[in-house]
């Protein structure tokens, strides 16, 4: 590859606090009747004032702490002034030069550390709906989302591939879910992604290659991790073609187009927008004590990476199993509860892990104690060794050559016939799942 991608990421995460960021309206807006979760504050009525949501601020700091950020003891809110019909005050309350969290990182599986520039707190906007009402094209505004707490997480331009970006996003999603501060549901817009992509020559000397390319392309409207990869791949291809012609891609904002996995130009940024930031006079600056930060840190649960490592070490699980079990905190907790109960019956964590992973146990309906019972039952059934079973299967297949023929022709139902034959011969209850696997191996 002649060019190397330089990718940075802005991620917005909507918090799942009960109330909105600056008023007591419910923040649970999804699927609600338009403009039913509103008040003078989130409608931007004359005279209304914002009062910050303490929980949201604490959660924002916890996200920062989980991303290894420094938490400055002084912080403040600022007004970001711009006009848009979904922004009722004519400014968004955000944070400019004193965000809650700075200078963090997230470690990828490769060991590469992606720099987290800042994590700050702001408010969501309303939603514009363009519709035809009695034959007329109109734009409607729903302010239910207006003022919902939003955390923005900005990285350094440290990514070089779409895969790295995808892994970072998965890890980030996992972390905020572990913290229990957001559902991070892409489809509901709880998590919104904006990569910025540019290219530089890969053979540039280190001194020069530290310099960023003279342009940056930001891509918006991406609502899945898969689309981020596609958007990045498309941009790398598009920008390579431009650079090959000896030109420089223009600095702009592009939108992702789902149907052909491409991007189209939305807005050319001639210069940085002037948001006329200034300190929000309605909210006094915030001062933390070291104790408060320590306290917030102590409330952070064990995070996925640590948990995965611990599962490998303490439960002697293979890495792949550990990763699967820690993907969601609820599964990991379930597993550990079952391990604890299984210990009394001499069950190994690996036995329990196998059962959860292979049987795709629905942990919301099966209690850990029930699970342990099931594992015990199934392990009792394994009185006949695999080798013995294989012998029996071979015999059956030799006696019934048509079974193999039918199977190759696509008739998988023959497996059920073989299972019946085996059961008939051994006259014992055995784990049919294991048996099925063995039969299939034999048929290959």
């Amino acid at each position: 590859m002649k060019y190397k991608a330089v990718i940075g990421l802005e991620v917005h995460v909507e918090l799942k606090t009960n109330s909105k960021m600056f008023c007591s309206c419910s923040a649970d807006y999804f699927g609600q009747k338009p403009n039913t979760h509103t008040c003078p504050v989130c409608l931007g009525l004359p005279g209304a004032l914002p009062v910050p949501n303490k929980k949201a601020i604490e959660w924002c700091v916890q996200i920062g702490l989980a991303l290894n950020c420094n938490i400055p003891l002084f912080s403040k809110f600022d007004r970001k002034n711009y006009f848009y019909p979904d922004l009722p005050k004519g400014y968004q309350i955000s944070q400019y030069d004193k965000p809650f969290c700075v200078n963090g990182y997230l470690t990828l599986t490769s060991g590469k550390k992606v720099g987290v520039t800042r994590v700050h707190m702001e408010e969501d906007t309303g939603k514009l709906i363009h519709e035809k009402v009695s034959g007329e094209n109109v734009s409607l505004i729903d302010f239910n989302r207006s003022g919902v707490p939003l955390v923005e997480i900005v990285t350094e331009p440290d990514f070089e591939t779409a895969e790295e970006v995808k892994e970072y996003l998965q890890k980030l999603q996992q972390i905020v879910r572990y913290l229990g501060v957001s559902n991070a549901d892409m489809e509901k817009g709880n998590m919104r992604l904006e990569p910025n992509i540019s290219l530089r020559l890969s053979n540039q000397q280190s001194a020069i290659s530290n310099q960023l390319p003279p342009y940056k392309v930001e891509v918006k409207n991406i609502n899945s991790f898969a689309f981020v990869s596609k958007a990045i791949d498309y941009e790398i291809k598009r920008q390579t073609e431009i650079l090959e012609k000896g030109k420089t891609p223009i600095q702009e904002t592009r939108g992702f187009v789902e149907k052909n996995s491409s991007t189209v130009s939305q807005r050319v940024k001639e210069e940085a927008s002037d948001y006329r930031y200034f300190p929000e006079p309605d909210i006094p600056p915030l001062r933390w004590t070291k104790e408060q930060i320590k306290n917030l840190k102590s409330q952070i649960p064990e995070l996925p990476d640590k948990k995965t490592q611990r599962f490998e070490k303490n439960h002697l699980l293979p890495r792949t199993d550990s990763i699967i079990l820690t993907r969601e905190k609820i599964t990991a907790d379930y597993f550990e509860e079952a391990v604890k109960l299984g210990k009394n019956h001499d069950l190994t964590p690996k036995q329990i892990a196998n059962f959860i992973i292979n049987r795709k146990i629905d942990i919301t309906t099966t209690l850990p104690a029930e699970l342990v019972k099931e594992v015990l039952n199934s392990s009792k059934k394994e009185e006949i060794s695999d080798a013995e079973l294989k012998k029996i299967i071979k015999e059956i297949l030799e006696k019934n050559p048509k079974v193999a023929e039918d199977y190759k022709a696509g008739k998988t139902s023959v497996i059920q016939f073989v299972i019946g034959q085996v059961m008939y011969i051994i006259r014992k209850k055995i784990d049919t799942e294991v048996l099925r696997k063995l039969i299939m191996e034999e048929l290959k």
């Binding site: 003078p40 409608l43 931007g44 009525l45 004359p46 005279g47 209304a48 004032l49 914002p50 009062v51 910050p52 007004r79 002034n81 006009f83 019909p85 009722p88 005050k89 004519g90 400014y91 505004i141 940085a272 002037d274 006329r276 930031y277 200034f278 006079p281 309605d282 909210i283 006094p284």
Partner: protein
């Protein structure tokens, strides 16, 4: 004596003794409003029917033995305070048809205290000015001479109190908007410390400066209303959790130990000679009563004008952004020149590349001014100065002067910038028959002290002949 000319204390006593009812009191005020509004134009909205209903309700409660600080007292409120179900325009036609769905905290507190709301008073549009001449509903006139201005921006509130259209009124001050019209109209106007009274529901002007406060006939009334208004508000994050004083109970003060600071910077060149002499005369009286006068060297108030202008315009440019005509009110083309000028000025001052030069620098100087006052209050208890450098100016005086307000408010801007407590009290009249006021400034949250000093002066000079004067309308 006409009922409408009573102050709160007198009206409260009369109501309690059943010498008259709240309905009678309210009707007396409404009659006066009807009689004078053609000349004064102090109101944007008079809520006659609602007022009479509330008065009837108050009379029932009084009969039932209810005791509330303002029960049955007719009060007018500046038109930038949100009033549930009652049009609130800030005297701008941008909000010509805007009816708030909620009450400002100040309004809610006054209602809880039993007030009868008489209506909404005229002001400079968006509180941008010191004359009420920028009101989109026409200027208010000074009751002492209707060829003169009442000052502003709370000019309607000050004029309505001076003309006995109401028993008391509420104003709001960003820099001078209570004290200056109170001075020009010859009434008592208290600007509390920033954060002492909630701003929730007050149409924002300069958010880091706005301070609601009472405009009254006496200092004692001022203390009584402040007691109702002051205190922390869960809807305003900038309100102070400091406890609220029993202001009206603690008005007496031995001024023999009082140290009064004066600064020659506040007796500036160009100050009206009669104003200067009368304030100096008042200081002599303080001395005679035993107070000590100390000369201070304060920061020249002219710097405060620059700081104030930048900070206030910057905040205004952002605060007025919500008036886009999409959800309520008229569109942006309804803004008049003064608001447009301030929006442009503020937008420029906040623009990247200028932010450090203007807004940031102004904030730094603001800190210097705050420190300057802090040091001064280590030496003295209060600072006394003229409230306005001039007498009320004639109608039309502001038309060609974009910075009129800032010049008129030169003596109140430094203390506003520093968020201090200050009060204007009337001290006499000019030969031409226009009122002259003096301001007493104290440290932050020194309302008790400032009110006490004002109260003592009022008491000790109660015998002065001018006190009996009433506007001849």
């Amino acid at each position: 004596m006409k009922l409408n000319s009573l102050n709160i204390k007198e009206a409260n006593e009369g109501l309690k003794k059943k010498s008259f009812s709240s309905v009678e009191l309210t009707k007396a005020c409404l009659d006066q409003i009807r009689k004078l509004e053609g000349k004064l134009n102090a109101f944007v909205t008079v809520t006659e029917n609602e007022a009479l209903e509330q008065a009837q309700e108050a009379d029932k409660l009084i009969s039932a033995g209810q005791d509330l600080p303002l029960l049955g007292i007719p009060i007018a409120i500046k038109d930038n305070f949100s009033t549930l179900g009652i049009k609130t325009t800030a005297s701008s036609i941008v909000l010509d048809d805007y009816i708030p769905p909620y009450n400002a905290t100040v309004v809610a507190k006054l209602k809880a205290a039993g007030m009868v709301l008489l209506g909404k008073t005229n002001m400079d549009a968006w509180a941008h000015g010191s004359s009420t001449e920028t009101s989109d509903y026409g200027s208010t006139k000074n009751p002492w001479n209707i060829k003169y201005l009442p000052g502003g921006s709370s000019g309607g509130s000050a004029a309505s109190v001076a003309a006995d259209e109401v028993i008391a009124a509420i104003g709001s001050e960003t820099a001078g908007s209570i004290r200056q019209p109170a001075s020009w109209c010859g009434v008592v106007g208290l600007k509390p410390t920033y954060g002492r009274v909630s701003r929730y529901g007050v149409i924002a002007m300069g958010s880091s400066l706005d301070s609601p406060g009472p405009i009254t006939k006496t200092v004692e009334d001022s203390a009584l209303i402040l007691e109702v208004l002051a205190g922390v508000d869960e809807n305003d994050a900038t309100t102070s959790p400091l406890p609220v004083g029993n202001y009206s109970q603690k008005l007496s003060k031995n001024i023999k130990e009082l140290k009064i600071g004066i600064s020659e910077e506040y007796f500036i060149d160009g100050i009206d000679k009669e104003v200067k002499e009368m304030v100096e005369g008042a200081l002599k009286k303080f001395e005679k009563f035993g107070a000590k006068i100390e000369n201070l060297k304060l920061f020249d108030p002219k710097y405060a004008i620059d700081v104030y202008t930048i900070i206030q315009r910057s905040e205004v440019s952002s605060n007025l952004a919500r008036y886009d005509g999409i959800r309520y009110g008229n569109g942006r083309d309804y803004f008049k020149d003064e608001a447009k000028r301030r929006i442009m000025f503020g937008t420029y001052a906040l623009s990247s590349g200028y932010y450090d030069q203007y807004y940031n620098k102004a904030q730094k100087v603001r800190t210097v001014i705050i420190d300057d006052f802090k040091k001064a209050f280590e030496k003295v208890d209060v600072i006394i100065a003229p409230t306005s450098p001039s007498l009320a100016l004639p109608v039309g005086a502001t038309k060609d002067s974009a910075m009129f307000g800032e010049i008129a408010d030169v003596l109140v801007e430094p203390s506003s910038i520093a968020g201090l407590a200050g009060i204007n009290i009337p001290i006499g009249f000019s030969k031409s028959g226009l009122p002259i006021g003096m301001q007493i400034i104290g440290p932050q949250f020194s309302e008790e002290l400032v009110l006490s000093v004002a109260y003592e002066y009022e008491k000790l000079t109660q015998v002065e002949k001018w006190r009996g004067l009433k506007p001849n309308l």
